[in-house]
C-alpha cells in the first residue's frame, strides 16, 4: 500500500526544522518505509506548488524537461507502487495570496496512491501573526505593527497567509475529504517529548526517537528575533530597515525589561486578536470533531500569564537604547 502525507504548514510552525530533519535523515527514514524525496532546490517541497503558485526564486532546471506538472507525474511513477508513505512538506500549500493551490487538482494528481492525507499544523493566531511580522522584518520592511494588526483583524490575512484556519481547511477540503485532514495544535505538540519532529515520526510510524537524529548545522536555522527589540528598532528606523547595528543595540537594551516573555502586543491588542479568532477556532474544532478528537487541539487563545506586553517596556529600556545610539553618534 502506498500512502501520501502532505504537510502544508502552516508557516511559522517549525516547518523548516521538520523539513531539514527529514531531508538530512531521509536515508534512515527510507529504511522504515518513509520516503522524503529530494526535489530541490532546498529541503522543502515548495517546488510542488508551482503548477498553481508562481515561485520565481526556483530555478527552472529543477523541474526537468516536463516542467512543474512532470514532477507530480514522477512522484506517482516513483512511489505509488512502493509500499510505504511518501511524506511531502511545503507550507506554501497553505498560502492564500497572491495565488493558492487548487487542492482538487492536487488530489487528482495523487490518484495513483492508496491514500492521501493532509497534515495542517495550526498556530494560535496571536503568536502566528507576531511571528509572520517578524519574519517579514527579517527580509524587508513590513507595515508598522499596529497597521499590520489592524489589517489582519479586518481581512484575517497576514502577508498573504490565512490567520483564519477554517479558510485553509475549506481550501484543502475542495480536494481532500475531512476524514483525511489532520489538524495539529502547534502549541500543544511542540511541548510534547521530542517536539513536533517526534510527532511527525510517530505519525509515520517510524520507530526512531527524534533525539537520535544528529543535530543539524545552525547556519540554515530560521531563528526568530526578539519581538520587542525588533519592534523598537523598526519603530525608530521605519520606513527603512533598522539594520544590524540598531537591532543589536535594541537587543542589548532588553536587559532592562521586567521579567516575562516579550510580545509585540499590548494587552488590548492581544485581546482584540483573541476576540476575533477564538470564535472561528471554536467553530472549526466543532466542524472537524467527527473526524478527530478535539482534545488533540484546543487552540486556546487566553493570553499566557508570563507575557511581557509592549506597553510594559518602561523608560529604562528606551533610555539605554537611545544612550547607545547617542554614543554611536
Amino acid at each position: 500500500m502506498a500512502h501520501v502525507i502532505l504537510h502544508i504548514g502552516a508557516h511559522k510552525t517549525a516547518t523548516s526544522f521538520v523539513q531539514r530533519q527529514m531531508f538530512f535523515n531521509r536515508a534512515a527514514l527510507r529504511r522504515h518505509g518513509v520516503y522524503y524525496p529530494d526535489l530541490g532546490p532546498n529541503p522543502a517541497h515548495h517546488i510542488l506548488a508551482t503548477p498553481w503558485i508562481s515561485l520565481p526564486e526556483i530555478d527552472p532546471e529543477y523541474y526537468g524537461p516536463s516542467g512543474p506538472d512532470g514532477l507530480w507525474e514522477t512522484l506517482t511513477q516513483t512511489y505509488a507502487h512502493k509500499p510505504g508513505t511518501l511524506f511531502l512538506s511545503a507550507e506554501v500549500f497553505s498560502r492564500a495570496r497572491p495565488q493558492a493551490v487548487d487542492f482538487a487538482d492536487m488530489r487528482a494528481r495523487l490518484a495513483g496512491f492508496d491514500s492521501v492525507k493532509v497534515l495542517y499544523v495550526l498556530r494560535r493566531q496571536p503568536e502566528l501573526l507576531q511571528s509572520i511580522w517578524l519574519q517579514v522584518l527579517k527580509s524587508g520592511t513590513p507595515p508598522p505593527f499596529d497597521r499590520f494588526l489592524s489589517h489582519a483583524l479586518q481581512t484575517h490575512l497576514a502577508s498573504g497567509l490565512w490567520l483564519d484556519h477554517t479558510r485553509v481547511y475549506e481550501a484543502v477540503g475542495q480536494g481532500v475529504p475531512a476524514e483525511d485532514i489532520l489538524l495539529w495544535d502547534y502549541d500543544q505538540i511542540r511541548h510534547h517529548p521530542g517536539g513536533i519532529l517526534q510527532a511527525v515520526l510517530d505519525l509515520l510510524q517510524v520507530p526512531i526517537s527524534a533525539r537520535a537524529f544528529p543535530p543539524l548545522p545552525d547556519t540554515q536555522a530560521n531563528h526568530s528575533p526578539d519581538p520587542l527589540a525588533s519592534y523598537a528598532a523598526y519603530a525608530i528606523s521605519s520606513p527603512d530597515h533598522p539594520g544590524a547595528a540598531l537591532m543589536r543595540r535594541a537587543h542589548q537594551a532588553l536587559i532592562h525589561l521586567p521579567q516575562g516573555r516579550p510580545t509585540l502586543y499590548t494587552r488590548a491588542e492581544y485581546l482584540a486578536v483573541q476576540e476575533t479568532f477564538a470564535p472561528l477556532n471554536a467553530a472549526l474544532l466543532q466542524r472537524h470533531s467527527p473526524y478527530q478528537p478535539s482534545n488533540q487541539y484546543h487552540l486556546d487563545l487566553t493570553p499566557p500569564g508570563d507575557l511581557l506586553w509592549r506597553d510594559q517596556i518602561g523608560n529604562m529600556f528606551w533610555l539605554d537604547l537611545l544612550n547607545q545610539m547617542q554614543k554611536a553618534g
Partner: protein
C-alpha cells in the same frame, strides 16, 4: 538703628532673580535706607560664604572674614538695613558656615536677622537635579533621588529643614530667624521678590523696582526633558540641544515632573511630618508659618505628567529625531 538681614536662600528659591533685582536697584533701595552692598564680582554676595566654604572664582573672596567685619564696621554705626544675599550660606556639605562665628562678626549691628526661604522638598529636589544637570552629568534620576532621601540632603543642601534651622540656631536665636515659604510667596502679590522686600521691611514693593538687565534667571527646561536627556547623554553632560530635543516631543511640556506617583507619595510620607514638626517648633516665634504644599498637592495630580507616563510614542519620536539629527 543698624540692621543686617542675611538672606541665605535656600537654593532654587529664585535667589538669582532676587539678587539681580536688588543689585539693579541699589541706588533706589539706598534712598529708602536699604543697603545692598556690592561685594566681590557677583551680584549676590556669595564671596562672603567663602570664609567657610570653598567657592570657585568668580564667587570667592580672598579675605571674606575681613569683608564681613568691614560690613559691621562701616554700616553698624549708621541707620540702615543692610541686606546680604547668598544661598551658599545655607549649604551644609562639604563645608558649612560657622554660624556662631558669623553672629560674632556681626556684633556691630543693632539687629541681626536670618531670612531663609524654604521650598517644598519635592520641587526643591527636582529643581536641584535640573540645576546640577546644567553643570554636569548627575546620573540617572532614581538613584539620585534615593540617595537624597537616605541622606535627607541633595548636593550638600538640606532637605530636612528642621536640621537646617537647628544649624542656624547654633549661632542665632530662634527669634532672629525668619522662615519664608517659597511656595506661598510666589502666589502672593509681588511674588517672591515682593515677599522678600516685605520681610526686610522695605517700603518699596516689587513693582517699584526696575527689571534686572540680566533678564529672567535660571529658566529650567521641563523636568522630564532633563530626565530623558541625562539618560541619553550618560556619561557625558546633556548638551542644551539634546535637552531641547527631549522637550520638543513631550506632549505636555509645561507640567511634567521627574517623580513617579509612588516616589512623590514617598516624599510626602517622609517630609510632611518633619515639616509639620518644624512649623510647630516655630510657633512661639513665627506663629502661622507654614511650609508650602508638596508638589502635586496644590493642583490635581492629573494635571501633572509623571515619569511613568512617558509613552512609547514619546521615546520613538525622540529616537527618530535623534537619529535624524545624527545624519
Amino acid at each position: 538703628m543698624a540692621r543686617i538681614i542675611l538672606h541665605i536662600g535656600t537654593h532654587k528659591t529664585a535667589t538669582t532673580h532676587i539678587q539681580d533685582s536688588l543689585h539693579a536697584n541699589r541706588k533706589r533701595l539706598k534712598q529708602h535706607g536699604v543697603i545692598f552692598p556690592h561685594i566681590g564680582q557677583t551680584r549676590g554676595q556669595h564671596g562672603l560664604a567663602s570664609a567657610w566654604i570653598k567657592l570657585p572664582m568668580p564667587y570667592s573672596l580672598t579675605d571674606a572674614e575681613r569683608s564681613w567685619k568691614r560690613l559691621a564696621r562701616v554700616y553698624g554705626p549708621g541707620d540702615h538695613t543692610v541686606v546680604v544675599s547668598s544661598e551658599e550660606l545655607s549649604r551644609l556639605r562639604p563645608h558649612r558656615v560657622n554660624m556662631a562665628q558669623l553672629r560674632d562678626w556681626l556684633q556691630g549691628f543693632d539687629e541681626i536677622r536670618i531670612l531663609c526661604c524654604l521650598r517644598n522638598q519635592a520641587s526643591f529636589l527636582q529643581s536641584v537635579y535640573q540645576q546640577v544637570s546644567d553643570e554636569r552629568q548627575p546620573g540617572h534620576w532614581v538613584p539620585y533621588l534615593q540617595a537624597a532621601l537616605r541622606s535627607r540632603m541633595v548636593d550638600g543642601l538640606a532637605l530636612n529643614y528642621a536640621g537646617l534651622v537647628s544649624h542656624i540656631e547654633t549661632g542665632f536665636a530662634p527669634d532672629e530667624i525668619t522662615l519664608l515659604s517659597y511656595d506661598h510667596a510666589i502666589h502672593s502679590p509681588g511674588g517672591i521678590l515682593g515677599a522678600v522686600l516685605a520681610a526686610i521691611n522695605c517700603p518699596l514693593t516689587a513693582e517699584d523696582l526696575s527689571a534686572s538687565p540680566h533678564g529672567t534667571s535660571n529658566i529650567s527646561p521641563p523636568p522630564l526633558a532633563s530626565f530623558a536627556a541625562n539618560g541619553i547623554a550618560l556619561p557625558a553632560r546633556a548638551e542644551a540641544g539634546l535637552v531641547h530635543l527631549a522637550a520638543r516631543h513631550l506632549p505636555r511640556p509645561n507640567r511634567t515632573t521627574l517623580f513617579s506617583r509612588p516616589e512623590l507619595a514617598q516624599i510626602r510620607a517622609l517630609f510632611d511630618p518633619l515639616n509639620r514638626a518644624l512649623e510647630n517648633s516655630r510657633a512661639s516665634v513665627q506663629p502661622g508659618f507654614r511650609i508650602g504644599p508638596m508638589l502635586g498637592a496644590e493642583a490635581p495630580e492629573h494635571e501633572l505628567m509623571f515619569r511613568g507616563e512617558l509613552t512609547e510614542t514619546y521615546w520613538i519620536d525622540l529616537a527618530r529625531a535623534l537619529r535624524s539629527a545624527q545624519r
